[in-house]
Symmetry: C2
């Protein structure tokens, strides 16, 4: 551990993590995947799951954006989100889609300190697949007030993961 | 307003905003600037200030990443952060650097609902300039637990801006 409390890759891989998994479903941009790896490293989440045609390491653009975090963060690839969800259920995770739906939970009210939680983020244009949303335990919505209603997917993942980590920190 | 509560660019420009300004100091990547514009639009913050050599609109890569948010969000360019800080002080803003310093405030404890707040985000590699930090009212630190201690700058801005907007939403 250095003065910034940074861990070595070896220490990090062995360390206890926050019980949070981020799932990217059919995310086009390798830069967004790289950013997700950095966020996953910074917030010490359990794993990153990449599904469908989401880019996966080793990949030149992920390497460029992740800056080595692709080596420290646990990650797995699944052919589709359904397979990832089956795996997550078996591991006892509650599974949420990051989507605005008729009964989505507003992010600031989302309290999951006592649960293992996985959040699925969808394609940059079309979002999480409807068939995937139907397999989830619910949806989480980031309140948005602007003209676009679409944060960049890597920014959205950072915001949601922060909120989950935040609840662990504040409860301690 | 459509079913997602999205506003037109015209409505958005006239609407009341959260009293929050994001400042990018010497940010190299136009993609990061574009992402910031989307976040600023989504969270309806007052303005985005771009200082030093940070890319500014009109710019091909900003346009590609901001997806039109560069037209809805108020923004200004300043030659350097010092000029931006003078402007902000004159407008009654409290000014914070997003940096880990010896007396930085941990993000989850940062409560500023009754203040106008500006947060300065620095260059991707070197962070906020030391001379700029010294002109600020304080520093805010995003708790990080990994091997890198460096979220992508657009992700970091999204997390900090969400925390500020969150405190306005939760207090209401």
């Amino acid at each position: 551990m250095d003065s910034l409390n940074r861990q070595s890759v070896e220490e990090f891989r062995k360390a206890d993590k926050f019980p949070v998994i981020a799932v990217f479903e059919n995310v086009r941009s390798a830069y967004n995947v790289g950013s997700l790896f950095r966020t996953a490293d910074a917030f010490k989440i359990q794993s990153v799951f990449l599904t469908g045609y989401t880019a996966q390491p080793p990949h030149k653009e992920i390497k460029k954006t992740a800056l080595g975090a692709e080596d420290s963060v646990n990650w797995m690839h699944f052919n589709n989100a359904e397979e990832a969800i089956l795996f997550l259920r078996n591991e006892g995770y509650r599974i949420y889609a990051a989507e605005q739906t008729t009964d989505s939970i507003s992010l600031e009210t989302f309290d999951v300190t006592n649960e293992k939680v996985a959040v699925i983020f969808g394609n940059e244009v079309s979002g999480v697949e409807q068939s995937t949303i139907m397999l989830c335990d619910g949806s989480i919505e980031i309140p948005q007030f602007g003209t676009k209603h679409s944060l960049n997917i890597a920014s959205a993942a950072a915001v949601v993961l922060w909120e989950l980590i935040r609840s662990h920190i504040v409860k301690k």
